[in-house]
Symmetry: D5
Subunit: 136 residues, 10 copies
Amino acid sequence: MPKPQLLETFPNPYAGRDYEIHMDCPEFTSLCPLGGIEGDASDLAALEGGAPDFATMRITYFPGESCVELKSLKLYLWSFRNDGIFYERAVNRILDDLVERVNPKWMRVVGDFNLRGGIKSVITASSGTRPASQDL
Amino acid sequence: MPKPQLLETFPNPYAGRDYEIHMDCPEFTSLCPLGGIEGDASDLAALEGGAPDFATMRITYFPGESCVELKSLKLYLWSFRNDGIFYERAVNRILDDLVERVNPKWMRVVGDFNLRGGIKSVITASSGTRPASQDL
Amino acid sequence: MPKPQLLETFPNPYAGRDYEIHMDCPEFTSLCPLGGIEGDASDLAALEGGAPDFATMRITYFPGESCVELKSLKLYLWSFRNDGIFYERAVNRILDDLVERVNPKWMRVVGDFNLRGGIKSVITASSGTRPASQDL
Amino acid sequence: MPKPQLLETFPNPYAGRDYEIHMDCPEFTSLCPLGGIEGDASDLAALEGGAPDFATMRITYFPGESCVELKSLKLYLWSFRNDGIFYERAVNRILDDLVERVNPKWMRVVGDFNLRGGIKSVITASSGTRPASQDL
Amino acid sequence: MPKPQLLETFPNPYAGRDYEIHMDCPEFTSLCPLGGIEGDASDLAALEGGAPDFATMRITYFPGESCVELKSLKLYLWSFRNDGIFYERAVNRILDDLVERVNPKWMRVVGDFNLRGGIKSVITASSGTRPASQDL
Amino acid sequence: MPKPQLLETFPNPYAGRDYEIHMDCPEFTSLCPLGGIEGDASDLAALEGGAPDFATMRITYFPGESCVELKSLKLYLWSFRNDGIFYERAVNRILDDLVERVNPKWMRVVGDFNLRGGIKSVITASSGTRPASQDL
Amino acid sequence: MPKPQLLETFPNPYAGRDYEIHMDCPEFTSLCPLGGIEGDASDLAALEGGAPDFATMRITYFPGESCVELKSLKLYLWSFRNDGIFYERAVNRILDDLVERVNPKWMRVVGDFNLRGGIKSVITASSGTRPASQDL
Amino acid sequence: MPKPQLLETFPNPYAGRDYEIHMDCPEFTSLCPLGGIEGDASDLAALEGGAPDFATMRITYFPGESCVELKSLKLYLWSFRNDGIFYERAVNRILDDLVERVNPKWMRVVGDFNLRGGIKSVITASSGTRPASQDL
Amino acid sequence: MPKPQLLETFPNPYAGRDYEIHMDCPEFTSLCPLGGIEGDASDLAALEGGAPDFATMRITYFPGESCVELKSLKLYLWSFRNDGIFYERAVNRILDDLVERVNPKWMRVVGDFNLRGGIKSVITASSGTRPASQDL
Amino acid sequence: MPKPQLLETFPNPYAGRDYEIHMDCPEFTSLCPLGGIEGDASDLAALEGGAPDFATMRITYFPGESCVELKSLKLYLWSFRNDGIFYERAVNRILDDLVERVNPKWMRVVGDFNLRGGIKSVITASSGTRPASQDL
């Protein structure tokens, strides 16, 4: 199960300035939900049904009062490893969990998934309005 | 013959948010229409006239109430395999079939065809107005 | 001599929709005009003066009532093979010939020429106003 | 069904010299055999079981008395389009058919197949002994 | 735990010929052993100690009487997902398991692991003597 | 400790024109702060805690009355070599130091850091309003 | 010394249309000014002080009544070969010389210089307002 | 018609040493022979039958007493422009013409032809024995 | 000062087999010796003389009884950070230190250094004889 | 005029071991000899006849008693800047000068020249016998 409680933050050292933080996380993996049932699928990894999914998660945000701590983000993303979850839900869930803990001015999450059945999927969701982008 | 009835959908799990789904389908193949007559050309594959065409289909959309199910999209695209159809018609037909079944807020289909006669063709069609794109 | 009469069209199968057709033609070749005099230079190919030029022609348009037929475009571009013509004139001439025959809503021609004398040239010309581009 | 009778040859114009001919054929497609039964699977293309396979076939040979005619090779490779055949058999079959018709001094066929189930396969088979390779 | 019993084979359809089969498996993942203790580490995935490892496994062999079945290879590689195992052991273990089940004339396994601590590792092991390689 | 006093400038030779200067500095290195304590960490380089960080610093600005002298910029960036500093602070600190010394019309600093714990970070900060960008 | 008198023009063959000409000149070389003194440095090439600089000059413009002749541009750029000149001055000087001779509707010069002291510099300057860019 | 009489040589300035000269000529073009009849096809360029072929010619040799003059090689290769000739003949013909005029210790010609009918061809021929290759 | 005492090993888990371990270490940095005097240069980092050097160290070996522990290798390479050392000495020193501690059957160290003064250097040294390489 | 007297050496710090040093020098430039007459051409740089040549010089050697000093190599290569010299002579001259001063066990010089008249040239010359190469 995804564990948002793993996410930690630290105070934004330059809170008076609008600036952007981008992170590429190329080692995201979860499981395909078996028969459309999402949830813990750890016993199923060796079975054909609950096949592993792989993605690069690309997270971009303008920090408000706090920044996400890198090591805790890594641990949070690892907590999807044995979870059965659809692409669309994974990306939106990560966005919701991060927004709730980090409270950024704006945040975008892109899930760039590996080829499955000859098709590559990329899901993009965002929250808030990107500030001052014309000058970055 | 293209079989739009193969397309299946599932309810958008985050229908309250404008977000984008992109799919690259690099294994699209159909046949060139013989003598300009489109239709079933399966007997013609080994003849010079009805030569195979190959393309990557790139589909992007903002889901409304429903999302297209990936496996059914794969089967739908396979149903063009022995069909004689022009580039322009294939791209617009896929857009029409998907819009009718999935009813997205906005959708774009790009057909990126392999070199033929020393010329590479890319056809792009869209339906609806892209929402909130400035913040993605 | 360029032969615009080789260009053929077919009726746009989706004339009710604004969509884009792009073609990359990587095998365009003509001759450098001898002594600045443009025209037929077929006898001059083996002489140093009328040196061959090579380019990729990139053509993009929104079709109106008709589309350019691919095979006829190929033949038309071949008709420059033994013609002495400047870069700027070639690109604008192709744009003019295509606009006159195909009558698109908007068309752009980019001539991406090979290195000559240590300098690479790219010429871009367009005709009309690109419709609905914000949604493609 | 593969149709080796489509293969045509022409006399090697430089039969007195050991030289190499290499061809990349990036548009090979066949069908995955349904339930392990190989053979004609044309009705099955739209069903999940007989899924399409895609490969680049790379053919290299030293011609003896004859060379394979390019257009006939293209038609021969197209004749696999609706055939259910395993990777290993396809590559070895193409090698056998070509060796029988063209009778080269040496020939190698490499089947470079697209990712399936997260795994990419490359099959390499050859016939005869490569002559004079140290000087090419 | 790695499950070699998942590996299945099928009879080599061209057993009379020395030919090569190569497979790239870019989605291998296991866990780093906690405190140097290898074994089942499924509860540890969300902890810092048992960090996930990622690799591309590249397998090449000359089949003898049998070939490894692709789907069963995929399931076998998935069975390392929650196993704590060192790089060197994983590569040699996969080689041993495959050689025992498939009994090839020659086999090589290359484990191409992602950057860890700023260092990228590639482990290469083989079994048997590569036949006839000079003609492939 | 970062030494902004190393930064030198020279008079902008074309102060009457709005133009852009961009510099890529691919050899930036500092140390990760030990236990969250920033400052001089030179004795710690060989210890696991104060691990080296590596980044490409990308600096872009429209000069006002003065330009930054290249050699002095190099020396200034070297002065971070044995300093323990967080990513966000390093990028914003470099921006502040440069803006104070060079007083540009607009400046942007992008810190493109190497993979750490499987995550790549890119921090972007700017100061001032970019002039006349529509014509560059 | 740069020799703007080498620059020649020819009448724009399509003066009635706004179109763009782009040239990449990857073989620009000049000398670093010795002790900050710009000017003729031909005797200094073999000395450490007046080190050679290398750049790609990228020139883009919308021609007015005339176009720059390619061969004369090449000769003009060669005339910097033994000149000691700063990056910022070289780019702005080339822009000034070309604008004075060619009188374009709009012109941009980008000097993309090789790595020096571990830092890569790119200088961009323009003159005039880019016309009709939304349709190119 | 190919004009070997255009080829000129100059005395090898280091004839006492075995060294290698390699030339890539990416702008070779000839015509496909009409109806299999090779010869002058200059009137046919605008017709579908005698379609243009494009290739990169890669020539490598160890010079004996003389080297091929670069400008004359360029003119010689241009003389194929309006000639109808098969791939295999073109490569072997160039090898024969060069060997006769330049008399190298060893020479190899590789014709790397553009995709035709979905197939890419590369023809490699050599003459003589490559000397001392183990030390280059 | 380089600290070989940081290097740790673990017993080779497959000591009965000849196999290869390769490691790419892209974040090696040391200092250029000031005035040709090698040794501790930590105070000199901010001075122009003792400029930082950057390299990728590529280490390949066939383990004997033991393997080098990855984390300890990382710490050992970090210990060059404030050391003034020539390229040739750094590569040969790393080889000597590793051979002494790890005692491999064969080992090669390649130092791939960043551009300095417009010149890129790569130093390659090895110890022992590479076993069984023909089958890997 | 090339100035071999600029070349300096330092004692090989590991003279007891056969190891390899490779240097890429991407900024070599000289002049094309005017009318075939080699020599000082500094006045001719701005004229069409003595056109600049550009190359990457790739130098590889096994040092004997001494190594070439990097800064002096850079100065030596700069000394060709205003010299009219043919490709073949430049590469062999650099090899001769270096061999005379550095006296390596084996040395190779590769001159990789920029495209001229649509043709790219690469000249490779070596001196001595490469030692122990099988283990590097």
